[in-house]
Symmetry: C2
Subunit: 194 residues, 2 copies
């Protein structure tokens, strides 16, 4: 078993679009110097009109430095017309579903590559159910957010189904957004009004 591990280490090579040797080198670097693991992600938001706002993602800090994304992106968010918005963009709760699906899928890409499993296809649909009596202030017994979220993955690759399922499970176990969404995070809000 140890010999096999040694052999696999020698064979580490890019797979599924993941630079596996650099990925492991990065993990080793952080193991040696834990401060490199400190990251701060950021977004800025500007109200446009009604429930419509624009968010920008531009810079972040991590691995001891400031970074700028290759491309600055801007997202419109709004409430849908049935909720008296103008539907100038997705609803905020839909961005949360994008965050969760894309985090799990990024993890699947990395983990499958690290395990030497060539992926052919990873697709998912994600749904969140909500009773709007919460946000509308019509019931104190109904929460504001999703009651539950369900993710359905379809995954194909050069490995037995059980190995593919293990990749998804490991991604879940190490997903930042899954942790945030299932366990919650303290949020501090400060207001400069005038």
């Amino acid at each position: 078993m140890e010999e096999r591990t040694a052999t696999m280490k020698k064979e580490r090579m890019p797979l599924n679009g993941v630079d596996v040797p650099t990925l492991f080198a990065t993990i080793d670097a952080v193991r040696q110097q834990p401060d490199l693991a400190r990251f701060q992600f950021r977004a800025s938001n500007r109200w446009v009109s009604g429930t419509h706002s624009q968010s920008r993602i531009e810079t972040f800090a991590g691995a001891g430095a400031e970074h700028r994304h290759v491309t600055t992106v801007q997202f419109d968010a709004d409430h849908p017309q049935v909720l008296v918005g103008l539907d100038q963009g997705p609803t905020p709760v839909e961005f949360l579903l994008v965050a969760l699906a894309s985090c799990l899928t990024a993890g699947i890409g990395n983990i499958a590559a690290a395990r030497g499993i060539p992926l052919k296809e990873v697709e998912s649909t994600i749904t969140g159910n909500m009773d709007l009596r919460g946000v509308l202030g019509l019931s104190d017994e109904v929460r504001n957010g999703y009651e539950n979220i369900r993710v359905e993955f379809k995954i194909k690759g050069d490995a037995p189904p059980e190995k593919l399922r293990e990749v998804v499970e490991q991604s879940r176990a190490r997903s930042a957004v899954f942790d945030i969404v299932t366990n919650g995070v303290p949020v501090e809000i400060n207001v400069n009004a005038g």
Copy 2:
């Protein structure tokens, strides 16, 4: 006080881009028929390569019907280069920040309008701090997700600062994404592997 409330009801009119009469009519309709409050939001995701995936937001269900957004949007998400991605889009955890900022801001737009407060400007920056030793599997004492999130609002409008702060506070108290992110939601993951 009752008289004043009656007067204000008569004066309800569109403000800040919010169709206030329709907003209140919608709330009244849901009060009469609570089933209308049941919504399901959805996204689909497709792995592209490495940690890069594309998410689409297209349809949702609610108020007893199926709906299609005015525009179907597609979002690229990826890990940044310093984390061995190709930075083909924002990091999943950044989409989560967009979800939270845009939800709080949409609520501010609605609540200020409902209270007859003309808004001039609402801007926010949102930051999330994370120790990546969690997601990299280097420490079991470090969580995968954000340790904390901070939102800084700057709000201007035709009302005393205290009234503007109350609008932000009421938005927080009824925000779907704030509830999800601070309190957590059960997430079920199913895998079809083959």
